[in-house]
């Protein structure tokens, strides 16, 4: 199952797969600051995960067409593209969420490093995968339990029994999700009593409590107002350096603001993958350029 492929011989590496650069600098660019910090050093960063020829089927429908992509450790990778392009489908491959839907099928591999585990491999249990990869959903979905129990749930599933340790990790997770100060006096009230933005940060805390290696965000701000959105984006920015993040967003400005790397997908294919600053300022593909300049999508 696991071949001798190492992190070095990558199918698509940021900054490498840029055929046909013709430097059309005249195209209008997003007016926001793009690309958080993609320095030369990033080339040396470890690869956390790599999709190799990943295809995905809903029944007979091929939703993802042989994707190759590298996810760098402790960086934010954004997946963008028009509705129905397969970005959420791709994201949900990483924690095998599709296994819950009958009639779905993966082809190819998603390697998780450093231990070279094939996340979509037949012999790999989906539960095992989800123990290592957390997810935050589009719509905040706290359990109708107390705030404390929401965050503690992942620990309980993992068999942590010591109350002191659970309390400590819950507090730490709530702090990391920047919601501790708002909820520390009401840990026993229902998670549903919070506002939408707070609920989403609670969900982030819930995912962080188990120290996932990769955190998946599926359009985490699409149900939130601009202020709550800004807070979530700030939070993702703070999580950089702590955890590898993959975020799906339909909002290009958001991708430009929060991510280090961006993948543009269209009709189930990966059109272009590069550092965010490069992809937004100097895309190599015409389709990417058309999309980010708002000509379609």
């Amino acid at each position: 199952m696991q071949s001798g492929i190492t992190a070095q011989d990558s199918p698509v590496r940021p900054g490498v797969a840029t055929q046909g650069v013709d430097g059309r600098l005249s195209t209008p660019r997003p007016s926001v600051e793009v690309g958080k910090r993609t320095t030369k050093d990033d080339e040396a960063l470890a690869i956390k995960s790599r999709a190799e020829g990943l295809s995905f089927y809903y029944g007979d429908v091929k939703a993802l067409k042989s994707l190759n992509i590298e996810i760098r450790e402790k960086r934010v990778t954004a997946l963008i593209g028009p509705s129905g392009c397969g970005k959420t489908t791709f994201l949900r491959c990483f924690n095998r969420m599709h296994d819950l839907t009958p009639g779905t099928r993966y082809e190819g591999r998603i390697m998780l490093y450093p231990d070279s585990l094939d996340l979509v491999g037949r012999g790999v249990d989906a539960i095992e995968v989800r123990m290592r990869i957390g997810m935050v959903f589009q719509k905040p979905n706290p359990f109708p339990k107390s705030i404390f129990e929401n965050v503690a749930y992942g620990l309980k599933v993992r068999g942590v029994r010591s109350n002191a340790r659970i309390e400590e990790q819950v507090e730490q997770a709530l702090r990391r999700a920047a919601i501790w100060d708002e909820v520390k006096d009401r840990l026993e009230s229902s998670g549903l009593s919070l506002s939408g933005g707070q609920q989403q940060r609670l969900c982030i805390a819930r995912a962080l409590a188990t120290n996932p290696e990769i955190l998946l965000f599926d359009e985490p701000t699409s149900a939130l107002d601009p202020i709550a959105t800004a807070r979530i984006e700030e939070l993702i920015d703070e999580l950089r350096d702590q955890v590898t993040v993959i975020i799906v967003t339909h909002n290009m400005q958001q991708a430009a603001r929060v991510s280090d790397y961006t993948a543009f997908m269209y009709l189930g294919e990966l059109i272009e993958f590069d550092s965010t600053s490069k992809l937004f300022t100097n895309p190599s593909q015409k389709a990417t350029e058309d999309y980010i300049t708002g000509r379609y999508g």
Partner: protein, 311 residues
């Protein structure tokens, strides 16, 4: 000039809206009319029973055994029998029904075997209750050698209400949003953990409601109990399930003969002496009261659980 046209347009819009809203009003009136006629029937029935049975509606009636003399007869053995049968029915149909529903809703693969099971569960709800009685007579009474006992009666009524419990439980489980399940799965929970920690607790209100509605159907069933051989004249009580000494409870009552409220009523109604009709009416009022009480509990339970959880 402009103001005048604007005003005219506004008038026209209002007239139009009012005209279309007439149908809302008509529908509300028709709906209320139908609902109140149904309610009225129930209320009239209840009042009629209470009025007719009034002379016998007292403490003695509840604490006396049946008797050949109408004025001394009571429903002690009947209501104790009914209560014990309901206890057995609940104890059997709750775990079996809920487990079946969980399997069908959370575990069963979507294939033709599951489809056949589902169709059959729905069909079972429509099987006449006397058929269940015949089945129980052959299976529980003779095959399992339970005899004409409370256990046989409880099992029979469990079979009868299983489809109701299963369907209601499935509805309740289905009401738990997919997003909640996904949240739990994403944290690494197994299917069993998702069900036991989340789906089941969040749907308890709906499940209990379905359970109680099933029981209030069972409480009035007469035909299957007569089929399995319920006695209509029992002048003794089954052994008490509670005991003074260790282990404080006993299951001896399960093997004892029984009578139940509807059977007692049926017996009295079929007697020529008009004095027994009074007894039947009084027993009817109490049985109806028991049913209404159970439904009231169901509504309360639902209210309590829904208050904590709103998606």
């Amino acid at each position: 000039m402009h103001a005048a046209t604007a005003d005219a347009a506004l008038q026209q819009i209002r007239a139009d809206v009012n005209r279309r809203k007439i149908f809302d009003k008509i529908f509300v009136m028709v709906g209320l009319l139908i609902m109140f006629s149904a309610l009225l029937v129930l209320v009239v029935l209840f009042i009629d029973l209470v009025q007719e049975g009034a002379p016998r509606l007292n403490w003695d009636f509840l604490t006396s055994f049946p008797s050949r003399k109408a004025e001394r007869a009571g429903i002690l053995s009947a209501w104790v029998g009914t209560s014990l049968i309901m206890l057995t029915t609940a104890a059997v149909s709750m775990p079996v029904g809920v487990a079946a529903a969980i399997y069908l809703e959370e575990y069963a693969p979507k294939n033709w075997v599951t489809a056949i099971i589902e169709i059959n569960v729905t069909n079972l709800a429509g099987v006449p209750s006397i058929i269940y009685g015949l089945l129980a007579l052959g299976l529980f009474v003779y095959q399992f050698n339970l005899g004409q006992s409370i256990a046989a009666a409880g099992l029979t009524l469990s079979l009868l209400i299983l489809p109701i419990v299963i369907v209601a439980t499935r509805e309740a489980l289905r009401a738990v949003p997919r997003a909640i399940r996904e949240a739990a799965y994403a944290l690494g929970a197994t299917r069993w953990e998702v069900t036991a920690h989340h789906v089941l607790p969040y749907s308890t209100g709906g499940i209990l409601t379905g359970m109680i509605i099933g029981l209030s159907r069972a409480i009035g069933e007469t035909a299957p109990l007569i089929t399995i051989g319920a006695l209509s004249f029992i002048a003794f009580l089954p052994e008490s399930p509670f005991k003074g000494e260790f282990p404080f409870f006993s299951f001896a009552w399960l093997r004892e003969a029984f009578t139940a409220m509807p059977i007692q009523m049926f017996n009295w109604v079929s007697r020529p002496d008009p004095a027994f009709q009074v007894n039947a009416a009084a027993a009817g009022a109490i049985l109806l009261g028991m049913t209404l009480l159970m439904n009231g509990v169901a509504i309360y339970v639902r209210y309590r659980f829904r208050k904590r959880i709103n998606w």
